[in-house]
Amino acid sequence: MALIERYQKTTDITYWEGRIPMSYIYTVGRAGEKFFREIINGRIFGARCDTCAVTYVPPRTYCERCFARLEDHYVDVGTRGTVHTFTQSYEAYDGTRKESPSIVAVIRIDGTDGGLVHWLGEIDFKDVYFGMPVEAVFKPKKDREGSILDIKYFRPIK
């Protein structure tokens, strides 16, 4: 008998399906607490290192360059920024296809060295450009729960 036994019909091919059960809980950490608690208030926070003249968004507990503690240096950085990079996505988180594509962008928050990955809204993909000024659109206050999704999307500043 040959090593390769050819299947005559594709229906002869069998496979085993499985699912690996896994779940996790991620606590957002000290700087994350500040960031997400302030998101509930409709504010975006960063952390400022005066020595290095760097503002991190999202905030960090320490400076990545000089290792200084930044926990007393959280700063409100406003809700405006510019489009740093962007793309159009046809897939949801879990890899399933979306009915309509969404625009995903890295938004550099004005006056900082950091940025957020978020959606762009109220704009057509063909009208987006690098450096486009945008602002955060928050959910109504009662719906906010301390999540990055408390920001619905960023929209162009008219």
Binding site: T14, R19, S23, Y24, Y26, T27, V28, E33
Partner: protein
């Protein structure tokens, strides 16, 4: 996703479970959808199909004359394709076993509550070459009275419940 008491692992962190449950610290719970499909291939495909028929099939190498279970398409000793399909019996002897207090999901079995420890074993199948066996469960036996070389027989699911899976055999039980 809602976070429940059972989800929170006991770790060395200073955080208390209650702080997470009550939302005193912010957290995210997520379950990645880790699905897979594994191609059975011709050897295990036939093996599983025959389990559905209530039979165990092996494969023979005509050079070393070994009858191999589970069947494989290639003889790893002779470095050549295997030759014939051979039906073997659903009886055998216990080669190795273990008394386990955890289930296959690594959860602790409620032994004090009267749950029987599970007893996975390698069973050398009658008709296959010596040392050739499959991993399965033993039951209908006192876990502490299992011994090496104990004769066992497969307990099958009813034909209509068999799907072509190794669990079509429920377990192996001792025979006189």
């Amino acid at each position: 996703m809602e976070i429940m008491e059972k989800d929170v692992a006991k770790t060395a962190t200073k955080l208390k479970t209650q702080q997470i449950l009550e939302g005193k610290v912010l957290s995210v719970k997520w379950e990645p959808n880790l699905k897979y499909a594994w191609d059975n291939g011709p050897a295990l495909g036939r093996y599983l199909a025959e389990l559905k028929n209530g039979r165990i099939i092996a494969k023979k190498c005509n050079k070393c004359h070994r009858i191999m279970i589970p069947p494989r398409m290639f003889c790893e000793l002779c470095w050549r394709p295997t030759d014939e399909w051979v039906f073997v019996k659903d009886t055998g002897i216990v080669n190795t076993w273990v008394v386990s207090y955890v289930d296959w999901k690594a959860g602790r079995l409620d032994i004090k509550g009267g749950v029987r420890p599970i007893t996975p074993a390698v069973i050398e199948i009658d008709g296959a070459s010596k040392g050739m066996g499959i991993l399965h469960l033993l039951d209908e036996v006192d876990p502490w009275k299992i011994y090496r070389g104990m004769r066992v027989k497969a307990v099958w699911k009813p034909a209509e419940e068999r799907i072509g899976a190794i669990t079509d055999i429920k377990y192996f039980k001792p025979i006189e």
